[in-house]
């Protein structure tokens, strides 16, 4: 076996351990929830309707049986892993008997689509401006642009998103503000649909980019001002290598290395969804699903989403570690 393969295998073992620990913690915390999915269901059923107390007691019993909520928490824990081994996350308790996987898979592509694209754009944009601002320290335009992004950073996301919405959806209504596509759209794949989906993603993506770029920018700027004094940069400058080339191939290329780990983390983090984006822009996705699952005490759904996110983050970090020798040739894996 090559040393690299051994490294990958060991690293994979670590990945499994982290997933195991993370899911275990999430399992027990979710089961602490005081919301009983059965009571939640009864609440939904009796909402503004009939409520013969005797009938409700009967309903309670039959639902408890139906949802398979018997057994100690340890049995349920064991059961959970056994089921998970076959890729089954069990039925959702708030949308019984629909499988958790079905529910998640319905929203997931939207979350991934929006978040992955905007995370990447944010990453590129933030780092590009950060690198430029770190290298050309005196340029006023860059200073101003960085300042704007840095000032956007602490603005509560909810407000920023809402202001965008008011501007582009009300004061100057040019962009759609609700949903992932037009209401009553024909959902057969067509060019028009794709265009419509893109149009609907502009505002959510823009809001994510505007609040997100600042932190990449700050990080990159600091990294660049460190790298800039490294010997190989000075040497290249003395060697008369053109400035643009120095910035791209020497400074940015080296400063990017630590940023990739951050990128992996945020790409992994997209499996958390973004509740506020989904609420403000009515964008489909798993963030809202998560909140409603928590509200409904639907711990099998919460756990499913939690596990997804844990695997997502851990896998992203795993992948970046495994790929790191490619990004930074100095990292040795022997």
């Amino acid at each position: 076996m090559t040393p690299y393969l051994i490294f990958v295998l060991k690293r994979f073992g670590q990945f499994l351990l982290v997933v195991f620990l993370g899911v275990t913690i999430t399992f027990f915390v979710t089961h602490l929830t005081p919301i009983d999915p059965v009571e939640e269901s009864i609440g939904a059923i009796t909402q503004m309707g009939q409520s013969d107390p005797n009938a409700i007691e009967l309903m309670r019993q039959s639902l408890r049986e139906l949802y398979g909520m018997e057994g100690s928490i340890w049995q349920q824990y064991l059961h959970f892993w056994l089921r998970l081994a076959t890729g089954d996350l069990g039925p959702s308790l708030s949308a019984f008997p629909t499988p958790v996987t079905t529910i998640i898979l319905r929203s997931l592509p939207w979350t991934i689509g929006l978040m992955a694209v905007s995370t990447l754009i944010t990453f590129v944009l933030g780092n590009a401006i950060g690198a430029l601002a770190g290298y050309y320290r005196k340029t006023m335009v860059l200073k101003a642009v960085s300042l704007v992004f840095i000032a956007l950073l602490p603005i509560p996301y909810y407000i920023l998103a809402f202001v965008l919405l008011i501007i582009f959806g009300y004061l100057w209504p040019v962009l759609p503000i609700n949903g992932g596509y037009e209401m009553n759209a024909n959902l057969n794949l067509s060019f028009a649909l794709v265009l419509d989906i893109l149009k609907h993603s502009i505002l959510p993506a823009l809001s994510l980019i505007l609040v997100g770029a600042g932190s990449w920018l700050i990080g990159m700027r600091a990294l660049v001002s460190n790298v800039i004094t490294d010997d190989y940069v000075v040497f290249a400058e003395l060697g008369g290598v053109p400035k643009g080339k120095i910035l791209r191939s020497y400074i940015a290329r080296n400063a990017m290395v630590p940023q990739f780990t951050g990128l992996a983390m945020s790409l992994g983090g997209i499996f958390n969804g973004t509740v506020i984006t989904e609420i403000v822009f009515g964008y489909p996705g798993i963030g809202n699903l998560l909140i409603s699952a928590v509200h409904a005490g639907d711990y099998s759904l919460v756990l499913g989403l939690g596990a997804l996110s844990i695997v997502g983050v851990a896998a992203a970090v795993f992948i970046i570690d495994v790929l790191s020798p490619l990004i930074d040739p100095r990292i040795k894996v022997e």
């Binding site: 009571e39 503004m48 949308a95 629909t98 009553n184 822009f281």
Partner: protein, 610 residues
């Protein structure tokens, strides 16, 4: 088909207050499977035997025989109910609706615990059979004069299942009922797999549905959608992209009124909102001291300045009630108005003095107060009857002195500006409020807490998500802002909520309380009233008198402090449709998640020619 929206002029767009539907493809309304209900499913495609309208109803009566041809027929001891069905009604797939469907509905649910009405049928029904294709006979396990209410739509009811569809299904509990077969005037056209919208299309054979009795529904399409948080609904309606907003913040309503020329509301002026037949109140957990003491409860009531609460919560748009029924529709004339004299003379004994706590002029005062704000001046009614309809008849006068006396009577002491309980502890109250979900009541709770705190009580409002499940059901609260009173709206019979207030249903401390009577209050006098109501038929005029007895009892005992009706800020845009229900033509509740709102479809008129 093109990638285009439906013709806007033929489409009615309605807010679905359930928001985004978690399991959008689930249409089996008989199983709680994460699908939507107010998506149009229950309003436009479901039907059952009878409806009671929360307002006045069409055809001159709040009572409507929908699938049934007539009112329910009981035998003398209320152990048997016979239903005659209408003829000539068809499911949207062409099958005829018959008694078999009704029998199937009841039997299937009884056979499948976990279905929504399963328990209710199991507890009551001994047998059900179709004696002929249009007659169903229920035999009951024990006498019940209101068994029919399970098939009577207030907000919803036990919907009738299509036997010909479900009998082919292996397990009705796990069947999603995709492509739902409709018994209403509309059928499913399309829905968003992400659960954001549902669109229904008028049936070609709409005439074969029960709604046809009232005429042809106007909108060809009806879309129920999740328009997002209140501010976005406001924007959408200002842009004429949303015909009916289900609910809004008071401020959102003011903004709409100010900025839009095409907005119609229940009241043309203040308080705009529709008072739903629900009674938000300060609910005490009467099983725990000191709230087991009526004097303490009364003292706390006398510390509330309802005008401030109104301004803080509804910003003046509340319809107040001092009585234990919501100040809406039928109850206005059946209870609120007739009880006024009694209220004016009603006395309580503080131990040191006797006072008359009622202030019949509160509505008037609020109107005067609002009229001072230039923005609203013209929108405030001045006719006394209109004021009473809009703002309620009156409420309790703040009386800190009497409150102090009552507390002292209950053994409390004041020391260093702080009230101490009889056992010497600081009097500490936590008011559980619902937080964001019903922000208006959260606002009310914080203000009441402030008023109590100003009197020397350590009072604070604490928001809890899932107030009902987390606090009310397990009885894990001291005081909450919520409601335990709901009425039919269009019918004075109080059994709808009152029956479950019987002491037989009050849970022990620490155990889960069945819905309603969250205050866990038991009272022998109340039990007697409830038992008397059970013994008479729903439309027996004696019911009204028993209802008044109940009102007097709870006024004396104050197990909850009734505040106001649940005012819903429904607004309707007249750009594409007119003919919405309003106080001038109150044919039904405009709040569109009520199944009764199907009546709107036949009353609407396109605002612009096609």
């Amino acid at each position: 088909e093109d990638y285009t929206s439906l013709p806007r002029k033929e489409t009615l767009i309605v807010e679905n207050p359930e928001g985004t539907i978690k399991n959008p493809g689930w249409f089996n309304i008989w199983v709680n499977g994460g699908g939507g209900v107010s998506t149009g499913l229950q309003q436009l495609t479901m039907d059952t035997l009878w409806y009671i309208d929360p307002e006045q109803g069409l055809g001159g009566a709040t009572w409507d025989n929908s699938l049934a041809a007539d009112k329910p027929q009981y035998n003398a001891d209320f152990t048997e109910m016979t239903v005659k069905l209408r003829k000539g009604l068809f499911w949207s797939d062409g099958a005829e609706f018959t008694a078999d469907d009704v029998v199937y509905t009841v039997k299937t649910q009884m056979d499948h615990p976990g279905m929504i009405w399963s328990a209710a049928f199991s507890v009551q029904v001994a047998s059900v059979e179709a004696t002929d294709p249009y007659t169903v006979v229920f035999k009951l396990k024990k006498p019940n004069a209101r068994f029919h209410s399970i098939f009577t739509v207030r907000w919803n009811g036990a919907w009738i299942m299509p036997k010909h569809v479900f009998e082919k299904v292996a397990d009705p509990l796990r069947y999603d009922f995709a492509n739902p077969v409709s018994l209403g005037a509309y059928k499913l056209k399309a829905y968003d797999p992400q659960g954001k919208w549902y669109t229904w299309e008028k049936r070609d054979d709409w005439q074969r549905s029960s709604l046809a009795r009232f005429g042809e529904p106007a909108p060809k399409y009806v879309t129920y959608t999740d328009p997002g948080p209140p501010d976005k609904r406001t924007i959408a309606q200002l842009e004429h992209n949303l015909d009916i907003i289900h609910d809004n913040t008071p401020e959102g309503m003011f903004t709409l009124k100010e900025k839009s020329k095409t907005i119609e509301t229940w009241f043309p002026g203040f308080p705009f909102a529709h008072p739903d037949p629900t009674l938000p109140a300060v609910i005490f957990n009467t099983q725990n001291p000191p709230f087991d003491n009526a004097d303490v409860r009364w003292a706390l009531a006398l510390l509330i300045d309802i005008k401030a609460v109104d301004m803080a919560s509804y910003r003046g748009t509340a319809t107040l009630s001092a009585l234990g029924v919501p100040p809406t529709a039928a109850t206005m004339k059946d209870y609120q108005e007739p009880m006024q004299d009694w209220l004016k003379n009603f006395e309580i004994d503080t131990g040191k003095s006797k006072i008359k706590p009622y202030d019949p002029t509160v509505g008037q005062q609020i109107a005067d107060l609002l009229r001072k704000q230039p923005k609203f001046k013209d929108q405030i009614p001045s006719d006394p009857q209109a004021i009473s309809n809009a703002f309620g008849y009156g409420w309790w006068k703040p009386n800190p002195k009497a409150a102090g006396e009552l507390l002292e009577k209950a053994g409390f002491k004041k020391s260093g500006g702080k009230w101490m309980t009889p056992d010497g502890q600081p009097f500490k109250i936590r008011i559980t409020v619902e937080g964001d979900t019903r922000s208006v009541f959260t606002r009310a709770g914080t203000l009441i807490a402030q008023q109590w705190a100003a009197f020397g009580i350590d009072a604070k409002a604490v928001p809890t998500e899932k107030l009902w499940q987390v606090a009310l059901q397990p009885g894990d609260f001291q005081v909450a802002i919520a409601w335990s009173v709901e009425t039919w709206g269009g019918d004075p019979d109080l059994s709808f909520f009152l029956d479950s207030w019987h002491s037989q249903f009050v849970a022990k401390k620490g155990e889960v309380q069945p819905p309603r009577n969250w205050q866990r209050w038991s009272n022998p006098e109340l039990d007697k009233i409830i038992e008397s109501i059970r013994g008479i038929s729903a439309d027996d005029p004696k019911g009204l008198e028993l209802g008044k007895d109940y009102l007097k009892l709870v006024a004396r005992e104050m197990p909850t402090i009734p505040l106001m009706s649940y005012n819903v800020f429904t607004s309707m845009d007249t750009t594409y449709w007119t003919g919405y229900p309003t106080i001038k033509d109150p044919y039904t509740d405009p709040v569109p998640n009520w199944a009764n709102s199907r009546l709107m479809m036949v009353k609407l008129k396109p605002a612009q020619p096609k």
